[in-house]
């Protein structure tokens, strides 16, 4: 890649800044040198696609939580880009236990300690966790 081919496809995906990566490219004398890149179309697109997939899944799961089919744990797990294995690891529970907590009926009976633990893992307050998807919660 030549210096003038270093991509400068600027794109602020989540609107909180970009990274001007350093890339190595060949200058007119054939010597390698570091050049900043504002971004590359191909990478931007792959990232965008990954986030679209996450966001679409979140909209679906939010509706299921509101309909009372799933507990808020599922929503926050996905919002934090975790799967069951990773959440089980963070919460110190078995996967089958975490899966049980996905049931609204089981979620209601969780101890304050367990709720506190989940809230810390998801970086929200216990209130935000418990009231997610309820009408007055407006989350």
């Amino acid at each position: 890649m030549n210096v003038n081919e270093v991509p400068q496809d600027e794109r602020d995906l989540k609107h909180d800044g970009r990274i001007n990566k350093l890339m190595y490219a060949v200058d007119k004398d054939g010597k390698y040198t570091g050049i900043n890149s504002a971004g590359w179309e191909a990478e931007n697109f792959a990232l965008e696609q990954a986030w679209e997939d996450i966001d679409e899944a979140l909209v679906k799961v939010e509706a299921q939580v509101k309909a009372g089919a799933l507990s808020p744990i599922v929503y926050f797990m996905q919002k934090n880009l975790m799967d069951i294995a990773l959440l089980a690891n963070y919460s110190g529970k078995w996967q089958w236990q975490v899966k049980r907590h996905f049931k609204p009926s089981v979620f209601k009976s969780l101890s304050p300690e367990m709720l506190g633990k989940y809230a810390r893992i998801f970086n929200v307050t216990v209130d935000e966790l418990v009231n997610f998807g309820k009408d007055k919660g407006k989350s």
């Binding site: 890649m1 995906l13 989540k14 909180d16 800044g17 970009r18 990274i19 001007n20 990566k21 350093l22 890339m23 190595y24 490219a25 060949v26 054939g30 010597k31 390698y32 570091g34 900043n36 590359w40 179309e41 191909a42 990478e43 697109f45 792959a46 990232l47 696609q49 990954a50 986030w51 997939d53 934090n80 880009l81 975790m82 799967d83 990773l86 690891n89 963070y90």
Partner: protein
Amino acid sequence: MIIENFKHYQHAHCESGVSANLLRHEGIGISEPMAFGIGAGIFFGHLPFLKVNGTPGTTYRIWPGAIFKRVAQRLGVKVHTEKFSDPQKAMKALDDVLATGKPVGMLGSVFYLPYLPEAFRFHFNAHNFVAYGKENGEYLISDPILQTVARISPEDLMKARFAKGTPEPKGFMYYIEGVSSDINMAKAIEKGIKQVCFFMLTPPIPWFGNKGINLLANRIKDYPKKLEPRKAALYLGNVIRMQEEIGTGGAGFRYLYAAFLQEAGQLLKNDELLKCSEELTRIGDNWRNFAYRAARIMKERKSGLVSYDELSDLLKKCGADEKVLFKRLEKMKLQ
């Protein structure tokens, strides 16, 4: 407490960047490509059975910590590395080393580094950065992929250092204890090159090294047959992201390694190394073309067999050309 004379330089890749910054702080003038080459950082692995967030795992780099360890060893630098089971102890150990005036390299998850833009923050646990002080209750961070320095709260840093998943950083930290005055660059360069050749050419199992590239190429050919279009696009997207995101990647690594071969060639006055550098630049361009074409396919939602076939062929060509190149390097005498 700030280590005043610590200088932050931006680099392409986190671990070779941290290695170069820490070594420079100790007075060893080394470029990032040199650290990457001597540390034998280039690698490939495709593990279809190891699913990361639901997609097959692909890695372009050697396991975390290896580059720093190798480059230090080969330059006769004495290092201290440590893992922890207790987060409090890990933070205390960090503070203690900082208090002695040593910058500290660390491993952490990108997800818990709020100074990075949100779009890049996935559960990627093998990111490297340096702490070079503590001020007003915040750690001063030199993250080699950023143009300038950053800050992080102790809570966030602890989360990043003790992220769960694969691999678990377990508070891994490292710093330089002492340097040797007697550095044999030619020997270090040769060792680095030979090791890379070994890892790329010799693994007997199909998932690693040059064979892994071929395996991934074969898998990509099957994506449209075996997966629904959406999933095929996601799998492909993951290959591209692992390749290009946050400097941990395919084409970028080829250019980084080509820059190393060029610098080594000039230093050792070896024309064959310079020629290999040029060849690898060309191969890097093909990797870039592969990523570019893959993104095109995803974008146009073309899921036809033909386009995935083309893509697979492009990748196979990258692999085949690299095999020739690494064989050339393997045979070379450098001292």
